[in-house]
């Protein structure tokens, strides 16, 4: 092996632990979304397939959109639209809720990025 070979190998070996730390430390994007209605689990939906899910809540229908491994509220019969403003959720542990309609969603995955969301 030449000197340059050894330098490249050492650099490569140094890079690997960094990759593990970067991509495995925080857990990662979630695989599924748990939908709760009235505090009870209603359905667990995979984030792998793009689709829309209509959830019947206390006030009416909340509509969720699943796309590219993320989920968001796109319609909800609440006055503040807080849930819609939460935007896309993709990391494990991300959570949002439509309180008036009693619908909440949480992304679940291997190790959640967040253990809790302060909102």
């Amino acid at each position: 092996m030449t000197r340059a070979d050894i330098v490249v190998l050492v650099l490569a070996l140094a890079l690997l632990p960094m990759l593990y730390v970067k991509f495995w430390h925080h857990g990662a994007a979630g695989d599924e979304v748990r939908i709760m209605v009235d505090g009870k689990p209603w359905q667990v939906v995979s984030l792998k397939h793009d689709r829309r899910v209509t959830v019947h809540g206390a006030l009416g229908d909340s509509v969720l959109e699943i796309k590219h491994g993320a989920v968001r509220f796109i319609a909800s019969p609440c006055p503040s639209k807080y849930c819609i403003h939460s935007g896309w959720l993709h990391d494990g542990g991300e959570f949002t809720a439509c309180l008036p309609n009693r619908v909440s969603i949480e992304v679940i995955g291997a190790r959640a990025r967040y253990d809790a969301i302060n909102f």
């Binding site: 092996m1 190998l9 495995w24 939460s86 959570f95 309180l99 009693r102 253990d115 302060n118 909102f119």
Partner: protein, 351 residues
């Protein structure tokens, strides 16, 4: 041929290293989660490192506690706090229900520490605005005259006198609305209960109000703090041991009327929703103090928050002003990992 040996050794080391690293992959995590609807919010409880039986017991206990406290501390529905409010209006000594007495005592102390900005005695004002109810008001906002009348009566926690279990109010305008505080107090009670059941790693998260004990398998708990004005997470903060993270935000409860926004955090000095700040986050030891402090700091705003945090004994505080500027003390800045860089950060003197 020694260089062949060298490279073979290197390859072997690389293989061993890779296999060793691959073994650190995600493992099933002994996490239990439960959601409870109580106190006007969704309470998420996370437990780590207990078996199923303990987890179920803990969830049942938490559920009962929250349901009990939701009734006990509701300001006007029939129950201990509702009854206390009726009696406070009578200007005479009465025996307070033992479930509300400690809450009132804590509220008095925190009222003083916050320079009167955390003032749960303004229940009438909250009622006038309509934010006491479970459903959001639609407007119109109350008249200027009605607001000024109630502010002039100046109800404070000082008007409430306590002797043993006997309580009276010297100001008939005093009505307790512990909205900005009862959740924190309830979170504390539930954490105590979980500890008695043998849970040492848990998060009790009542919306913006959470207390975390222990750790997530030795790693700190990762808490995401919502961005008050944009979708997504503003920052992450890691907590370990026993800490509370409380956020008060004007986006939690509000209504629009003729294009104007009216939110639920009423400034006791003016009688109107607090202005200038969109959210206040506090990391503290117990939930009750942190809850009251988050409310008080939001009302205090960018000019006064530091003084109020100091007198309430808060070590970590962050304010997000209406223009997006983030105010915090240096110790808080060290703990906040921002997801997006805030437009402007103003560091205060240390707390």
């Amino acid at each position: 041929m020694s260089s062949v040996r060298t490279s073979l050794t290197t390859a072997l080391v690389a293989t061993v290293l890779t296999v060793a690293l691959s073994a650190c992959g995600p493992r099933p995590d002994p996490v239990h989660k439960e959601q409870i609807l109580a106190m006007g919010t969704m309470v998420n409880i996370t437990l780590w490192g207990v078996d199923n039986d303990v987890a179920q017991k803990a969830f049942t206990a938490a559920n009962q506690d929250f349901n009990y406290m939701q009734t006990a501390y509701h300001p006007w529905k029939p129950g201990p706090m509702g009854r206390t409010n009726q009696l406070l209006a009578l200007d005479a000594w009465f025996s307070a229900n033992p479930s509300v007495l400690p809450l009132i005592k804590r509220a008095k102390a925190l009222y003083h520490a916050s320079d009167g900005l955390f003032n749960p005695a303004i229940g009438r004002l909250i009622g006038l605005w309509g934010f006491h109810s479970d459903t959001l008001p639609k407007g119109p906002p109350p008249s200027k005259a009605a607001i000024e009348r109630l502010v002039a009566q100046h109800p404070t926690m000082d008007d409430i006198q306590i002797k043993g279990i006997r309580v009276r109010s010297t100001n008939p305008a005093v009505q307790l609305d512990t909205g900005g505080f009862a959740k924190g107090y309830a979170v504390d009670r539930v954490i105590d209960h979980l500890r008695r059941l043998g849970v040492s790693n848990a998060i009790v998260d009542a919306g913006g109000d959470l207390r975390a004990i222990g750790s997530h398998g030795g790693e700190p708990w990762h808490i995401g703090i919502r961005d008050p004005s944009a979708p997504g997470i503003l920052a992450e903060v890691d907590v370990k041991g026993d800490e509370s993270v409380f956020t008060s935000g004007v986006y939690e409860r509000f209504y629009m009327y003729k294009g104007k926004r009216y939110h639920h955090i009423i400034d006791p000095r003016t009688g109107y929703p607090a202005r200038g700040t969109t959210s206040a986050t506090v990391i503290g030891s117990d939930g009750a103090t942190s809850d009251a402090a988050a409310t008080a700091l939001l009302i205090a705003g960018p000019k006064l928050w530091h003084r109020v945090a100091e007198s309430m004994g808060i070590k970590y505080a962050m304010l997000v002003a209406s223009d997006g500027t983030v105010y915090m003390n240096p110790a808080m800045a060290k703990r906040m990992h921002f997801e997006h860089k805030p437009p402007k950060v103003v560091l205060s003197a240390p707390l």
